[in-house]
């Protein structure tokens, strides 16, 4: 059973209304999920229908003539070669669409953190988490939304198993108490608005020491 972003998140992605960080996490999920690519295509069709039925605003005089001049200066369009499939996420290279990545930093025993540098402002932080098998993340909730895509390994949360490509789309109402599944180191890509609020006893103890 795969875990997907919420429909409203996919719709916002299709409409171009997600901030850069959340877009990156959704795009990562899409690169691994045909079903959600289909859903985004459906929501794009909704956008197309809205575009078609909008009340038009007249272009200024001469706009069409300018466009005709512009296409005269275009080189003849050539049929493009189909680009080779290019996965958004390549686990081996740990490269992410050319975004600059910070160094892995130690957060807590068995847990490392690495920043993904997205220049767009807007209060969403993007980072990767790397956790060893069997690690229990302290119970926590969020002051904003948190969108996570598993890149490798798996974690167990809310009775579900989240493996590579699976997405957890949580808001401040969801309490989290995930555990890393046995077997493999788990790496996740996370876009987080607001801050983590650690709710467990252990969590409240380490809260002052972590900055995620």
């Amino acid at each position: 059973m795969r875990q997907h972003p919420k429909n409203e998140t996919l719709a916002a992605f299709a409409a171009g209304q997600l901030d850069e960080g959340r877009s990156l996490v959704v795009a990562t999920h899409l690169s691994m999920c045909a079903e959600c690519r289909g859903a985004v295509a459906a929501f794009e069709a909704v956008g197309g229908e809205m575009l078609n039925s909008i009340e038009p605003v007249a272009m200024s005089d001469g706009a069409a003539a300018r466009a005709m001049v512009a296409i005269d200066h275009e080189p003849s369009p050539v049929a493009p070669a189909k680009p080779a499939p290019r996965p958004v996420w390549q686990a081996e290279q740990e490269s992410l669409l050319g975004y600059d990545l910070g160094p892995w930093r130690w957060v807590a025993p068995g847990l490392h953190y690495r920043a993904v540098k997205t220049p767009e402002a807007g209060g969403t932080r993007v980072f990767m988490l790397k956790a060893v098998p069997g690690l229990k993340i302290p119970a926590h909730s969020h002051t904003g939304t948190e969108l996570t895509c598993v890149l490798k390994g798996a974690f167990i949360h809310d009775g579900g198993r989240y493996g590579p490509g699976d997405c957890d789309d949580a808001d401040q109402d969801d309490a989290h108490n995930p555990m890393i599944d046995d077997g493999e180191v788990c790496v996740c890509l996370v876009a987080m608005q607001g801050n983590v609020r650690l709710t467990g006893f252990f969590g409240r103890m380490i809260q002052p020491f972590i900055r995620i």
Partner: protein, 218 residues
Amino acid sequence: MQAQAQDIGLIKAALPAGLLAKADRLHDSPTQIDAVKSPAELARLIEAVAARQDRAAFAALFDHFAPRIKAFLMRGNTPAAAAEELAQEALLTVWRKASQFDRQRAGASSWIFAIARNLRIDSARREMRGKVLDLEANEDAEPPAPPDAELLASEREQRVRAALVHLTDEQLRVVRLSFFDGKAHGDIAAELELPLGTVKSRIRLAMNRLRDVLGDLT
């Protein structure tokens, strides 16, 4: 034909939701609000640009889409002059990328919507960085569309129109404000004088409903 399309629009407005899908299946003529050009006609225009750099076809596309893209961008708070420039850029992109259009994958309006959306994202991020997510790279990795995909794509367009009519007025309103106009949930709540939670749950319900109606076509 045009009169028939308008009749269907009137019928759709009067019919209870459950009968609309049936009404759509009974008529294969275009049922969109703007009956000037059918989706198939728009698709043919893009294909004419791709096949032979057809200038008349491009001019027709410009007349249809440029004022709509300008309107779309202005509703998202892009100033008129910038919206006009982006609409020009969008149509120039249509000229350049026409050969990538595949009516088996997407309708003409959906394809051009995605172009305008990407340009808007691009222009918003341009001053911060030169790079945006290349969504099309993923689309190109898809296997070839099956032979009946064209039927599915046109059925999808029908279904999208029917699905939008299925939404309640309140749902349609928040969907437009949120996804089309790019308003933050808090601003929508203030504008409609609704609690934030109500706005969020309306959006969630509307999107789930659209997905229910559209999901099995994808």
